[in-house]
C-alpha cells in the first residue's frame, strides 16, 4: 500500500543527494587552499611523529636515525635496566586510565552542569540571552594558566574555601583538596564547561519550546518531557559539546600540572616529560599517537551509540 509512495520518496531523496554531492564537489574546489594548509599542518606533523616513534632516542634528547620498535614496546611494557626482565608498565597504564577516567568525568560533570545552564539561557527573553552568553564566555578572556592558578588559590589549604569554612566553624582542619584528582576534575570542568554550554545552547535556540507544552499536555511528566522530547532534539548539541570537552580534556596539560601537583599526571604531562627531562622523543611520539588512537576509538564508539539510540527516527 505504501510501497509506491515510499519508492517515490526514495527516488526523490536520491535526487536530492545528487544535488547535494554536486554542491559539495564545488565547495571542495573552493576550499582547496585551506585543505592544503590543513593537510600539511595536521598530517605533516602526524607523519613526523609516526617516523620519530620508530627511531632511537638521542643522548641529549632528539633522535638518532636508527630504526627501533623500542618506543612502542615501552608504551605498555617496562624493561628493567639491570636484569632486562620485562614487566607491564603500570605507571603508563595507570596514567592512561586516570586520563580517560578524568576526561570522562569532566565531560559528565560539564554536561550535568552545562545542560541546565544552556536550558536556562535558551528560555530567557532574547535580549537577556546575549548577556548570559557573554557571561559564559568571559573566562576565555583570561589566560588558561592564570585561571588555573586562581582555582589553586581558591582550593589550597589556606585558600578561600578552607578559610571561609573554618571561619564558619564547619570544619576545623583544612580540607585537602589541592593535588587530588578532584582538584583536577574541578579545574578541567571549569575550563571546558563553556565548550559544553555553547553547542547545547545553539541546539536549544532552534528547539521549539511549544513541543514541551505538547508533551506536557499529553500526560508526560517533566522528567519524561526532558528524556523523550528535549534530549533527543538537542542531541546534536550534546554530542558536539561532549566531543569538544572530552578531546581537549584527554590531552590537558596545564590543569593537571598545576592542580594535580607532580603526583597526578595525565597523558599530556607524561608526553611532555618524554620530550623534556625524559629525553625520550620516540616514546613521547609513540605515547602521543596512542592518545590519538584512544580519542578516535572513543569518538567512534560514542557517535555510533549516540546515533543508534535515536537513530531509528532521528534526523
Amino acid at each position: 500500500m505504501s510501497a509506491e509512495q515510499d519508492s517515490s520518496t526514495e527516488s526523490f531523496e536520491s535526487l536530492e543527494a545528487h544535488a547535494y554531492q554536486l554542491e559539495v564537489r564545488q565547495n571542495l574546489l573552493l576550499s582547496t587552499p585551506a585543505l592544503i594548509v590543513l593537510f600539511c599542518a595536521a598530517s605533516g606533523t602526524l607523519l613526523i611523529m609516526l617516523v620519530f616513534s620508530f627511531l632511537t632516542p638521542g643522548d641529549y634528547g632528539g633522535i638518532k636515525w636508527q630504526f627501533s620498535t623500542e618506543a612502542w614496546f615501552q608504551v605498555a611494557f617496562y624493561r628493567d635496566i639491570f636484569d632486562e626482565t620485562v614487566s607491564i608498565a603500570d605507571a603508563h597504564l595507570s596514567i592512561f586510565w586516570r586520563s580517560v577516567k578524568l576526561s570522562f568525568l569532566t565531560t559528565l560533570v560539564a554536561f550535568v552542569l552545562g545542560f541546565p545552564t544552556a536550558y536556562f539561557i535558551a528560555t530567557r527573553s532574547p535580549e537577556t540571552r546575549n548577556l548570559w552568553l557573554f557571561l559564559v564566555t568571559i573566562p576565555f578572556w583570561t589566560n588558561l594558566l592564570i585561571r588555573t592558578f586562581a582555582i589553586l588559590e581558591i582550593i589550597r589549604n589556606q585558600g578561600l574555601v578552607n578559610t571561609v569554612l573554618i571561619a564558619l566553624g564547619v570544619i576545623d582542619q583544612p580540607l585537602d583538596m589541592l593535588y587530588t584528582d578532584i582538584a583536577i576534575l574541578l579545574g578541567m570542568t571549569y575550563v571546558y564547561i563553556p565548550l559544553m554550554i555553547l553547542p547545547i545552547y545553539a541546539s536549544m535556540e532552534r528547539f521549539d519550546f511549544q513541543l514541551v507544552e505538547a508533551a506536557y499536555d499529553l500526560y508526560a511528566t517533566r522528567w519524561r518531557v526532558l528524556v523523550r522530547v528535549i534530549l533527543p532534539l538537542v542531541k546534536p548539541g550534546v554530542i558536539a559539546g561532549s566531543i569538544l570537552v572530552f578531546v581537549p580534556s584527554l590531552g590537558a596539560y596545564v590543569t593537571p600540572r598545576v592542580l594535580g601537583g607532580g603526583k597526578h599526571l595525565m597523558i599530556g604531562n607524561l608526553i611532555e616529560l618524554q620530550f623534556g627531562q625524559g629525553r625520550n622523543w620516540p616514546l613521547g611520539a609513540a605515547l602521543s599517537l596512542t592518545l590519538l588512537v584512544i580519542v578516535m576509538v572513543a569518538l567512534i564508539f560514542y557517535v555510533r551509540s549516540a546515533q543508534k539510540e535515536g537513530g531509528a527516527h532521528g534526523h
Binding site: A214, D217, L218, L233, H313
Partner: protein
C-alpha cells in the same frame, strides 16, 4: 443539570505581568459553562484572550483569580499532564523526531498503556483520520493538511474529556480549510468528545458550532447558538463583528409589553418588537442586516429613503449602497434570481423596506 457540564470557568481573570508597568488583563471575570459533547467556539478579534482561556483550561497558565472546573471538579491547581484535556496547537507542535504513528501513540504511552493497547488505538486513530498508509512517515515528509490530521489524532487518541483547538485551520488554504471543517465536525460526532474551538473567522464559527461565545478585550460578550448570535446580537460589538450590519440611531417614543415605537433620524416612526426595559426618550441603536432589507422603487410609504450610490455584484448576491444622509451608507444585499438582477440607475432615489421584526434594538 450540572452533570452535563464538561468545563466551567468561574469568574476567571488572568493578568500577565502583574506588578510591572506592562500589566495586561488578558481575561476579565470570564464565566462560562460548556456542555458535554458540545462543539463550542470562542470567537473574537486578535488579542481578546481566546488563547489565554484555552491555555487556562489546558493548564499551561494558572488563573490570577477564579477557578476552572472539569465535570464539576476544580482543576485549577493541576498541571497539564494530570488533566484529561488535550490540545491541538495552531502550528500542530508535532514531534519531529518521531513518525506519524509514534506521534499519535505518544500520549497513550505516557499514560502507561501496554504496547498492544497503544498499537490498537493508534491503528484505530489512523483509520479515523485516514492516514493509514503514511503511518511510518516522518513529520517533515507529510503535507500541512496531513500534519493537521496527525495533530488531531494525537490529541484524540487518549480519549480526553475535552479537546481544545486553537485556530487549528488557520494555516491551511481555503479549500483544505473547508474540507477540514467538515472533517472536524465528523470527528466530533464520531468521538462524542467536547470540542472547544478557537477562531477569529466568524463564518467558520457560525457554520461549525453548537454554541458560540463572542469575546472582546478579555470578556465574553454573548454566548448562544449561531442563529441567536447572528439574529439577536446583544450589543453593538457582537452585531458588528458577526456579519455585516447597518447601524442607525433612534429614539424611543413609547414602550409597552412587547413592542416599542421609535423615531428614526429622518423623523419617521416605526413599531418594532423589543424586550421590556427601554425607558421613554432613551437613545438606542438599531441594527439591520443587509440581507433583511429590500430596495423598493415604486412606493413612497417607505420608512427609509436615500439615493443609490453603488451597485456591487458579488456572485450569488448583489449589494446596493444607499446614501441615507448618515456617515456610512446603508447596505442592502439582494439575492440574484437565476443570475438576473434588476438594474437600477445609480443616483436614483430609492426606498429601503425592512421587516420590523428583523430589526434588533441595541442599548449602549
Amino acid at each position: 443539570m450540572s452533570d452535563d457540564v464538561a468545563v466551567e470557568a468561574r469568574g476567571v481573570s488572568k493578568i500577565f505581568g502583574a506588578s510591572t508597568d506592562q500589566e495586561v488583563r488578558a481575561l476579565d471575570h470570564v464565566s462560562v459553562s460548556i456542555a458535554q459533547n458540545e462543539f463550542f467556539t470562542l470567537l473574537g478579534p486578535s488579542g481578546c484572550g481566546k488563547t489565554t482561556l484555552l491555555r487556562l483550561i489546558a493548564g499551561f497558565e494558572h488563573p490570577t483569580d477564579g477557578a476552572i472546573l472539569l465535570e464539576g471538579k476544580d482543576i485549577s491547581a493541576l498541571p497539564p499532564f494530570q488533566r484529561p484535556v488535550n490540545t491541538v496547537f495552531q502550528n500542530y507542535a508535532l514531534f519531529p523526531h518521531m513518525t506519524v504513528a509514534q506521534n499519535i501513540g505518544f500520549g497513550l504511552e505516557m499514560q502507561g498503556q501496554s504496547k498492544d493497547e497503544v498499537a490498537n488505538t493508534v491503528g484505530a486513530m489512523l483509520v479515523l483520520v485516514k492516514m493509514e498508509n503514511l503511518k511510518n512517515r516522518r513529520i517533515d515528509q507529510i503535507s500541512g493538511g496531513q500534519q493537521q490530521r496527525v495533530a488531531l489524532a494525537r490529541a484524540l487518541a487518549p480519549r480526553p474529556k475535552v479537546l481544545l483547538l486553537d485556530e487549528p485551520l488557520s494555516a491551511l488554504d481555503l479549500k483544505l480549510r473547508k474540507e477540514m471543517q467538515v472533517e472536524l465536525k465528523r470527528l466530533q460526532h464520531e468521538t462524542g468528545i467536547t470540542f472547544i474551538f478557537v477562531t477569529h473567522d466568524q463564518e467558520e464559527a457560525l457554520t461549525m458550532s453548537d454554541r458560540v461565545a463572542v469575546m472582546n478585550e478579555g470578556r465574553i460578550l454573548q454566548v448562544g447558538a449561531p442563529h441567536e448570535i447572528y439574529n439577536r446580537p446583544h450589543d453593538r460589538f457582537v452585531a458588528d463583528f458577526i456579519g455585516d450590519t447597518n447601524f442607525m440611531p433612534a429614539e424611543v417614543i413609547e414602550h409597552d409589553e412587547s413592542e416599542v415605537r421609535i423615531r428614526l433620524p429622518s423623523g419617521i416612526e416605526i413599531t418594532v418588537p423589543a424586550p421590556p426595559g427601554l425607558p421613554q426618550g432613551s437613545e438606542v441603536t438599531l441594527a439591520i442586516r443587509p440581507e433583511q432589507a429590500r430596495i423598493v422603487t415604486d412606493s413612497d410609504a417607505i420608512s427609509i429613503q436615500g439615493s443609490l450610490t453603488d451597485e456591487i455584484y458579488i456572485g450569488t448576491d448583489t449589494q446596493y449602497r444607499v446614501d441615507i444622509g448618515m456617515t456610512s451608507p446603508f447596505v442592502v444585499r439582494v439575492q440574484n434570481a437565476n443570475g438576473e438582477r434588476a438594474r437600477i440607475p445609480l443616483g436614483s432615489r430609492v426606498g429601503i423596506a425592512v421587516d420590523p421584526r428583523t430589526i434588533q434594538i441595541l442599548q449602549d
